[in-house]
């Protein structure tokens, strides 16, 4: 880990001591969004597969965990692994279907699959309680540590986020990660070099859905409530926006992007109540003006301005 990363981590750990509860909660939400965006980035950035259905995994794991604890009365020690497992298995199946295609076909299939999951969330009232959502949920208490207060939960999320990002960094720099990027850039060539391109993509899809499920658990613990709208295309699009805005296929990009999107969303919902429209405009703006993402895009812009002055 670089020194700057360690410094950032120290600042993040210290955050609850120098900022109010509102910002601590906002920071927790940003970290959860960062995990979610980073998991989507495995597909979008490293596999070159633009998914518009990632919210399914966040929502499924949140709902499964909520349902198991409310209706089955199970404790967190059981609901968490069960939710992760069931969601990952769904990822196995959805990946198998969506990867029948690549490119735009993949995008459309992931969107269609997630719309079905979203529709189920609204209509399968017996299980999901429909538009009323499921409430009365609790946070886990790992090793007897109570996570009810904001700071404690923030630290918990910070630990998980750090772990997830380290795992992702390991993954993309591994031999498997290198082959994944190879399938993104030259799938035909990879296949003739002896790689099972489909298998590599599928494994990545499943891994991304697992990490999406981790974000889902953190999300439902944070809110102690779950509503079908978390599975909507809006949530998938927010994560995609974070990935693209930050810079897809980079480790820091989605984290920066998630922070920007969450801050913007927070600002927009507090003052103008027009988050969807704002997000739409940002989407169009990023795609047209800074397709490489804000971080690389700004650098390029500055370079061009600098070059122009000479």
């Amino acid at each position: 880990m670089k020194r700057s990363h360690l410094l950032l981590l120290v600042v993040l750990i210290a955050l609850p001591w120098f900022s109010g509860e509102y910002y601590v909660n906002l920071a927790s939400q940003i970290l959860i969004a960062a995990i979610f965006a980073a998991s989507l980035n495995l597909l979008v950035g490293y596999a070159g597969l633009t998914s518009l259905g990632h919210a399914s995994y966040l929502g499924l794991s949140a709902y499964i965990s909520a349902w198991l604890s409310l209706r089955m009365g199970l404790g967190h020690a059981l609901t968490a692994p069960a939710a992760l497992l069931a969601t990952t298995l769904t990822g196995c199946a959805f990946g198998w279907i969506a990867l029948r295609a690549s490119g735009l076909g993949f995008l459309m299939l992931t969107l269609a699959l997630s719309q079905i999951v979203w529709g189920l969330g609204y209509r399968w009232v017996g299980v999901t309680n429909g538009d009323n959502g499921l409430s009365g949920l609790t946070r886990p208490a790992p090793f007897g540590i109570d996570l009810a207060n904001s700071a404690a939960y923030y630290w918990f999320v910070l630990i998980i986020t750090t772990l997830v990002l380290l795992v992702i960094a390991r993954f993309v720099n591994s031999p498997f990660g290198a082959t994944l990027r190879g399938t993104r850039d030259q799938p035909r060539r990879m296949s003739s070099l002896g790689y099972d391109v489909w298998g590599i993509r599928w494994v990545t899809f499943v891994f991304a859905s697992f990490l999406g499920a981790v974000a889902g658990l953190l999300y439902v613990y944070f809110n102690k409530y779950i509503h079908p709208s978390v599975m909507s295309v809006t949530v998938s699009a927010e994560a995609l926006l974070a990935v693209i805005a930050g810079g897809s296929g980079t480790l820091a990009g989605p984290v920066v992007g998630a922070a920007l999107v969450m801050l913007l969303k927070n600002y927009a919902s507090a003052y103008v109540e027009r988050w969807n429209m704002l997000m739409g405009f940002v989407f169009v703006f990023i795609v047209i003006v800074m397709p490489a993402g804000i971080v690389p895009g700004t650098q390029a812009l500055l370079r061009r301005l600098g070059g122009g002055r000479k």
Partner: protein, 286 residues
């Protein structure tokens, strides 16, 4: 008996509306090779414009015409102002249409509010039709009729006109079409407007059945995606057949198993994709 008969007619009516919705999507996809994710929003916009037109005193027929033309104009603006800037970047275009769909749906929320607005069935179609001792809701028959007329017109347009020949050439091979002097730029705008027009018309004609409500865009986009994936992306015949298949499955699914209607929608799509990744009638493998 009455149940099956009504639901069958409902299925046909939904199938017809899905065809209006999806045929535009399929046309745009076939020619421009992009998935137009604003399509659901354009459908919803059609419904809302019809609401306003009817409030201004127009009948549904005229309101539907106004809605179709207004939405076509919006489609033209989208193509000219946004998609044009991203030509050659299919993924960028699709993401731009996604962004535009959020803008459009929020726009509708601002203008028409968050409550469901019912659209009156025209008086002349309100009385049920009695045929062979069976009772039919007349308007549903009208919707099926409109869908069939649109289908025939589209078929004639594609197969019998110069414009259709140019579109077909572009669908087959855009570069070749350019080489023989077809102006792709104009063709793209025309097809995008046409696709939007069909979506807007669908929204207005479907108004008395669906009403206009926030979220209509998302519901319709899902159904359009399922239809085109099932029918084969870019195939008009496939879209026609798949629209009615989905119309039946969704109508009966909702009536018999309301909780799980969405899962039932999902099954035919999965089965077809598993065995034929190009869809039932498709030739484009994406």
């Amino acid at each position: 008996m009455q149940f099956w008969q009504i639901q069958t007619l409902n299925s046909f009516a939904l199938g017809g509306l899905l065809f209006l919705l999806s045929s535009g999507f399929a046309l745009i996809f076939g020619l421009m090779r992009i998935a137009n994710l604003t399509h659901g929003a354009l459908f919803m916009l059609g419904a809302y414009v019809a609401v306003s037109a009817m409030r201004a005193g127009f009948g549904l027929a005229l309101a539907a015409l106004i809605a179709a033309l207004a939405v076509a104009a919006v489609g033209g603006l989208i193509e000219r102002l946004v998609l044009r800037r991203l030509s050659g970047n299919a993924q960028g275009q699709v993401l731009a249409t996604l962004g535009l769909s959020f803008i459009a749906s929020d726009f509708c929320l601002i203008v028409w509010g968050g409550d469901t607005i019912p659209i009156q069935t025209p008086a002349m179609f309100q009385a049920p039709l009695r045929l062979f001792g069976l009772i039919f809701p007349t308007y549903r028959l009208v919707v099926v009729g409109i869908a069939i007329v649109v289908g025939v017109v589209l078929y004639l347009l594609m197969e019998r006109t110069r414009l259709g020949a140019m579109i077909r050439a572009g669908v087959d091979d855009m570069q070749m079409a350019r080489a023989v002097g077809i102006r792709a730029s104009a063709l793209f705008t025309i097809v995008f407007c046409l696709g939007a027009l069909l979506a807007g018309l669908g929204g207005a004609v479907g108004g008395p059945i669906f009403s206009a409500y926030p979220g209509l865009d998302s519901d319709m986009l899902s159904l359009a995606l399922i239809v085109v994936i099932l029918g084969g992306i870019g195939s008009l015949v496939g879209t026609f057949v798949a629209s009615f298949i989905i119309g039946f499955i969704y109508t009966f699914g909702t009536a018999l198993l309301p909780d799980l209607a969405y899962v039932i929608l999902f099954l035919p799509m999965v089965i077809v994709i598993a065995f034929r990744p190009t869809g039932l009638f498709g030739t484009i493998k994406t």
